[in-house]
C-alpha cells in the first residue's frame, strides 16, 4: 500500500495513526514533518491538522504523503470527500473573460496555471477554483484590470457553488 501515492487514496477527511512497526526516531524528519507527527492522534483528519498547523491543502497532503511513504503513519479511515466537479463551460467563460483582459495569451496562461497546480479540467474540484483564479490574477499587472477580472470571476464562482 505504501508504494501507492497517498494523493490517490485519501484527501482531507482521511485519518491516520502512528505506525506500530516504525518509529519516527528511526528516520530523519524535517520540522514540518515532526509537527505533523505530534498532531496525529487517530482522530484528527488531514484537514484538521492542516488547519491547526496553518498549512495549505497541498502542503498538508504532501507532508502526509512523505510520512506515509516512509512508513511512519498508517491510514485509519479514508472517507473521501465528495468532489463537486467544475463544468467545462466554466473554463470557457474563464478563457473568454481573461482574453478580454490580457488578450490572446489567456488560454496559455490558464493551461500553465492548471499545469502548475496539477489540475485537469475534466476532473477539477470546485474547491480548487479560488486558488486558481488567484494564481491567474497575479499574472495581470494592471491593478484595475486584475480587480475587474476578479469581480467577474467571483460571480462565476458563486454560480458554481449554487449550481
Amino acid at each position: 500500500m505504501a508504494e501507492k501515492d497517498l494523493k490517490d487514496l485519501a484527501d482531507l477527511k482521511a485519518i491516520f495513526r502512528l505506525s506500530s512497526t516504525k518509529s519516527p526516531s528511526e528516520v530523519t524528519l524535517r520540522s514540518a514533518e515532526w509537527a505533523i507527527i505530534t498532531q496525529i492522534d487517530g482522530h484528527k483528519s488531514i484537514g484538521d491538522v492542516a488547519e491547526i498547523l496553518a498549512l495549505s491543502t497541498d502542503e498538508a497532503i504532501n507532508l502526509f504523503n512523505g510520512l506515509f511513504q516512509k512508513g511512519l503513519i498508517e491510514i485509519l479511515s479514508v472517507a473521501k470527500e465528495e468532489k463537486k466537479q467544475v463544468p467545462l463551460s466554466f473554463f470557457e467563460k474563464l478563457s473568454e473573460e481573461l482574453t478580454k483582459i490580457i488578450g490572446p495569451v489567456a488560454p496559455y496562461l490558464i493551461e500553465d496555471t492548471l499545469w502548475d497546480m496539477e489540475i485537469k479540467k475534466e476532473e477539477c474540484d470546485v474547491r480548487k477554483i479560488p486558488e486558481m483564479i488567484e494564481a491567474i490574477s497575479e499574472e495581470i499587472p494592471d491593478e484595475l484590470k486584475r480587480v475587474q477580472f476578479q469581480k467577474v470571476m467571483l460571480e462565476e464562482m458563486k454560480n458554481l457553488e449554487s449550481a
Binding site: E51, S56, R127, P130, I133, E134, L154
Partner: protein, 145 residues
Amino acid sequence: MADRWLKEVNKVDGVEGVFLASSKGKILGKLGTLYPQDTLEKLITHLQRIIAAFQVAGKNATEIEFYWEDRYVICKHSANFLLVTFCKSAKVLSLLRITLNVVLANILEDKKFAKISSSNAIDKTIALRKGFFESDEQLLISKLK
C-alpha cells in the same frame, strides 16, 4: 452605508468578523464576532504603524496578512480607511482575498462612504510619531530603512 460590503465578506465560510476603520482609528462599520473595542483599536494602531513604516520607506504595503491568536488577519487599506478581516480557516484564504479585492474596489466607488472616510482621514505617518514602539515594530522599521 458599507454594511452591504461587510456582509459580502462575512458570508465567506470561515470568516469570523470584519470591520472598517478610518485612518484616525475610528471604527466606521463592523460585522460578526470581533474583539472588544480597545483590542481592535490597538490592532488598528499596530496596522497603521506597519503601513506608515512602509510609506516612510517609500514602499507600498497594499495588504497585510498575519496569523494571530489562532486566526488569520487580513488588512486591506486605501488612503483613508482600513478593511480588516478575521478568518479561522486557511482553506478559504484565496476566496477571501479575491472577495476583499472586489469589496475594496466597490467601497472605493461608494461616494457616501468616501465622504465619511475622508472626513476621518489623517496622515498615516503620524502613527509613527505617537507612543512607544514594540520590539517587533522597531525590528520592522529598522529593516525598511
